[in-house]
């Protein structure tokens, strides 16, 4: 008896899987299947109680449900919406959140230290040095922010987020060195020269990433 029961369960599940084949996963789909499963099972049991055998009760129960295509279509749309913004794994979310927090703290730390030092000794050249913390801070924040994504934009792939963060870091680092050299030497030429190297590298990297942005995404959904 128990065995026959689980065989029927399997049959209903298989039918529902086939019915919703190709529909994107979603919590709603999962619940809809469970709802249909329970109700179908009860209906089959009713038919069996009227003296029908199992296989014809199964067939009859399914036929008598009517045309489920608009329900399937409805859930297909839900599945597509969910697919567009894949949920991050708990680990990735934790990494992204940590990146955002550490990034913000480091940026602030850099800013506060600069302010502190600038009051301690009046030489700007030395007090600006901790700005490097802010450079790394913004870079780490960029990484976390891109990895996490927003409600309008799905989270980025890890490698891509790292590269974006690097390009942001390079551009800021170029500004940082330029300011630092200028403050120390008081000359413009060497500061521009040193800035150029990192700035160009940063911009180059950013442009590459920007131009290879997977725009097909819009079309494929």
């Amino acid at each position: 008896m128990k065995k026959a029961q689980s065989q029927l369960d399997h049959k209903i599940k298989k039918y529902l899987d086939q019915l919703f084949a190709g529909v994107g996963e979603s919590q709603e789909l999962h619940e809809q299947k469970e709802e249909l499963f329970t109700n179908l099972k009860e209906k089959i049991a009713d038919y069996q109680a009227q003296g029908m055998d199992e296989s014809s009760s199964f067939k009859e129960a399914i036929i008598s449900m009517g045309d489920l295509s608009s329900l399937v279509e409805d859930l297909r749309k839900v599945g597509e919406k969910t697919k567009q913004f894949p949920t991050l794994s708990p680990t990735a979310t934790r990494i992204a959140n940590a990146g955002i927090i550490i990034g913000v703290l480091m940026t602030l730390f850099g800013g506060f230290t600069i302010a502190l030092l600038s009051f301690k000794d009046l030489k700007w050249g030395e007090s600006f040095a901790p700005g490097i913390f802010s450079v790394f801070g913004v870079s780490i924040f960029t990484y976390g922010f891109l990895l996490k994504g927003t409600s309008k934009r799905p989270g980025m792939k890890q490698m891509r987020a790292i590269l974006y963060a690097t390009s942001a870091g390079l551009i800021l680092f170029s500004l940082y060195t330029a300011i630092l050299i200028n403050l120390k030497t008081g000359e413009m030429a060497p500061s521009i020269a040193s800035m150029m190297v990192f700035f160009l590298a940063g911009i180059g990297l950013w442009l590459t990433l920007f131009l290879t942005e997977p725009n097909q995404r819009k079309n494929s959904y």
Partner: protein, 123 residues
């Protein structure tokens, strides 16, 4: 051949029928289906496919809400409960129906002559 209700005629009333069932107590898919069948005196079957689509729409419109039962044998049932908004919607639809019912009856069965001609035909 006994007359049947055409799908066209009932389509606009599916949600009102469901709300009428839920107004009398929480219920789940297959039970709602059976209740509608019983209420019609076995004269009308509202397909389950139509029901499930309607549940989704009604829930989205906050006219009903759902919760899972705690059955352990044979899978959990998804129960539906009517909300305050759903009750309001039901009352509104019922008023509309009572009004339409009378007018439609006149439009389908009545004749203009019957009304004013009652004097002439009456004699």
């Amino acid at each position: 051949m006994s007359p049947t209700i055409s799908t066209d005629l009932i389509r606009g009333h599916t949600t009102t029928i469901i709300l009428n069932i839920l107004r009398q107590g929480d219920s789940y898919g297959y039970e709602i289906y059976k209740k509608i069948l019983a209420l019609s005196g076995n004269q009308y079957e509202l397909k389950e496919a139509t029901l499930y689509t309607a549940f989704r729409r009604l829930e989205k419109e906050a006219c009903i809400e759902s919760y899972w039962g705690d059955e352990t044998q044979g899978g959990r049932r998804k129960y539906y409960r009517i909300t305050a908004k759903g009750k309001e919607r039901y009352q509104h639809s019922k008023r509309e129906w009572n009004f339409a019912k009378e007018i439609l009856d006149r439009l389908i069965q009545g004749g203009l002559e019957d009304e004013e001609g009652s004097k002439s035909t009456g004699s």
